[in-house]
């Protein structure tokens, strides 16, 4: 709070001419963070929805249910659609050409002032309350008790595709070779279990879009990015109540 005060020192003698563009931008940022605006997904305003900003319910800011609690913060405006994350995912996880585990969506606003395009990377949100897991008849998809990753047991999958319909984030597809539904698992089998710290997509990104880490670790990058009030953090489709673990922000 103190640091914020010092930033606004020049405002003491405020009048339009004396305020520099940088100061104005800082001021606007705080205004937007507090009021919450729309861009891409629903931005969660710190005024009305402070708890949701902190990865779902109140108790979350004190204790996360998983250790490590894997999560990803996506800096939406940094994405340049180079698709290296998608390539890395395909290479690492043997994803067939007809499917994908992660995707970059393109938004175009032709009458926008200045920048007219932005890119929105999407992947499995590894929800704390995953609709797919509830719907699966045979527990083929489940929430890993230790790290909270929404996992697949390919052998148990009957291919009824209920989880595909249940998923609010279009994160699942049927994989013919695996004879089961396939989805992002944060590279747990291909990288994390082998000592790597990052998922393939996060490691491949040249623009620092995908920040991957442990939300239960106060020193992690994801924790620091989410537990602040200056810049808005949002999730996709919060109205579903699935409590996703993929967070979005700009800047």
């Amino acid at each position: 709070m103190n640091s914020k005060k010092t930033e606004f020192e020049p405002f003491k003698k405020a009048c339009i001419e004396t305020v520099s563009p940088i100061e104005r931008r800082e001021f606007l940022k705080i205004g937007l963070a507090i009021s919450g605006i729309f861009a891409g997904g629903t931005i969660l305003s710190v005024v009305s929805n402070i708890n949701k900003v902190f990865a779902s319910p109140e108790e979350f800011s004190e204790k996360y249910p998983y250790k490590p609690h894997y999560s990803m913060v996506i800096h939406q405006d940094r994405c340049i659609d180079c698709e290296r994350c998608m390539e890395a995912c395909v290479m690492t996880n043997d994803v067939p050409e007809y499917g994908y585990r992660t995707m970059i969506l393109e938004k175009e606003v032709l009458d926008a002032i200045g920048q007219k395009k932005e890119f929105i990377p999407v992947l499995c949100n590894h929800c704390n309350n995953p609709p797919c897991v509830r719907a699966c008849p045979t527990k083929a998809t489940y929430k890993d008790k230790k790290n909270g990753i929404v996992m697949m047991n390919y052998d148990k999958c009957i291919g009824c595709k209920t989880c595909v319909v249940a998923c609010p984030y279009n994160a699942r597809y049927y994989n013919e070779e695996k004879k089961a539904i396939d989805k992002c698992n944060f590279c747990i089998d291909t990288r994390l279990s082998k000592g790597e710290k990052l998922t393939a997509c996060a490691a491949a990104c040249p623009a620092g879009v995908r920040i991957f880490g442990d939300l239960s670790d106060m020193n992690s990058e994801v924790y620091k990015r989410i537990h602040q009030l200056a810049r808005p953090v949002w999730v996709l489709r919060p109205e579903i109540g699935a409590k996703p673990n993929i967070f979005y922000m700009k800047g």
Binding site: C136, P137, K156, P168, Y174, R237, E239, A242
Partner: protein
């Protein structure tokens, strides 16, 4: 002490069973099979046609299995449930409806409904079998289901409950049919009651599969399970009228007084149920128009968009309005008119199921983001393979119906 009455019961049942299987029953079955061989020529032509449909569609189904469903069917990542799921729903709705409506007679003892019992129970087994066949060809690994449904059940999953309960339902209905055949009404009643209970539980779970997918706004809510049970009864009435009328044509017989009375009460119940579905549909539409944007878009797709022809022509006109008028006009006595109404209902309800399953998925998950990929409603059209599997399902029902009429000689009822 508490064991005593139970063991007595079992021995009683065993005795009754033994008594039922006396030589006269076997003889009458034998004579029925002989009777089957002396059917009319048009009957055999029909039987051969339905047999061919089943044969050809099984070939196509085998081809679909070999090429892989991803290539053979037009379902996608975004719309993974297509016409096979809706046809499965259609068949099990009909089966549950046949079970519920016929149970009014043989389970709850309302005499007027008695004469329809045997045919209805037989057809409920046939239609659920057809439904299972169709979904067997939609699920990618149906054999795994048999194993993991048992050793790895997820009790929060409606699919699990539906599959398990419908399995039990098919068993009870088949057992009930056997008891009805051998004329053991008391045991038939118990089997029928068990079938009815598991059928209703299974069917409301089928509704809940859709109703509990909270990422799909059009489906979400308690409406689906309730609507499914209600529309099952309407489907059941339509199927009873449809098949009973046809059955008497196949056997070239005239209905007796009690059967005419049964048709009359089923016709009247059917009219009432259509009215109830009209009411349900009206409010689903009206509430949907003031819902969140995703739901409003689905309702608009039905009213004025790409599904408007399906909705207005098939669901409203053919499925509800015309049959309602015909049934009212027939006063439950003009059987030809009632048959026409039931045929139209069957067609309308089939489209109703198709729309229900497909339009629930046409709004993309990420539509709110306003991204280029998902600006419009998602497309789906059934493929040749899918249509043939559906045809095969109908072929199974038609062939089994025709065979049943002869083998069980018009499902004449001795229940009184």
């Amino acid at each position: 002490m508490p064991n005593e009455p139970k063991s007595r019961n079992i021995s009683e049942i065993a005795k009754e069973l033994a008594r039922s299987f006396d030589s006269s029953v076997v003889e009458s079955w034998y004579s029925n099979i002989v009777g089957f061989l002396s059917g009319s020529r048009s009957y055999y032509v029909l039987l051969v046609i339905t047999g061919l449909v089943v044969f050809v569609s099984s070939m196509v189904a085998v081809d679909a299995i070999n090429t892989g469903y991803r290539h053979a069917y037009n379902v996608t990542r975004e719309i993974p449930w297509g016409i096979l799921i809706s046809t499965y729903v259609f068949f099990v709705v009909t089966s549950t409806g046949l079970c519920i409506v016929s149970s009014i007679g043989h389970v709850f003892g309302l005499k007027d409904f008695m004469p329809i019992a045997k045919r209805s129970v037989f057809l409920s087994v046939v239609t659920i079998f057809a439904g299972f066949t169709v979904i067997f060809l939609d699920i990618e690994n149906p054999l795994r289901m048999a194993l993991y449904n048992v050793i790895s059940p997820n009790l929060t999953s409606n699919i699990w409950w539906m599959g398990t309960l419908y399995g039990a339902y098919m068993f009870f209905m088949a057992v009930e049919f056997v008891f009805l055949l051998i004329g053991n009404n008391r045991l038939a009643m118990y089997a029928g009651l068990s079938g009815l209970l598991s059928g209703i539980a299974a069917h409301s779970n089928l509704g809940a599969i859709f109703g509990m997918l909270h990422a799909r706004e059009y489906w979400y809510g308690p409406y689906m399970p309730i609507y499914f049970i209600l529309s099952a009864m309407a489907s059941g009435c339509a199927a009873i009228i449809f098949f009973t009328w046809l059955g008497y044509k196949v056997n070239n017989e005239k209905m007796d007084k009690s059967m005419e009375r049964a048709m009359e009460v089923v016709g009247k119940l059917c009219t009432l149920l259509i009215a109830a579905i009209m009411f349900f549909t009206t409010w689903k539409i009206i509430t949907g128009l003031v819902a969140s944007p995703g739901k409003v878009e689905v309702i608009k797709a039905l009213l004025t968009g790409p599904y408007a022809l399906n909705f207005w022509l098939f669901e409203v006109l053919i499925g509800m309005a015309i049959p309602f008028v015909l049934l009212l006009y027939s006063k439950g006595r003009n059987l030809g008119m009632m048959f026409t109404a039931s045929l139209l209902m069957v067609i309308g309800i089939f489209v109703m199921r198709y729309d229900l399953v497909v339009v629930g998925q046409i709004v993309p998950s990420f539509q709110d983001l306003g991204v280029k990929e998902y600006l419009h409603l998602l497309p789906y059209k059934p493929s040749f393979h899918e249509i043939m599997v559906v045809a095969g399902g109908f072929g199974i029902v038609a062939a089994a119906f025709l065979l049943g009429e002869k083998i069980f000689s018009g499902h004449k009822s001795e229940i009184h």
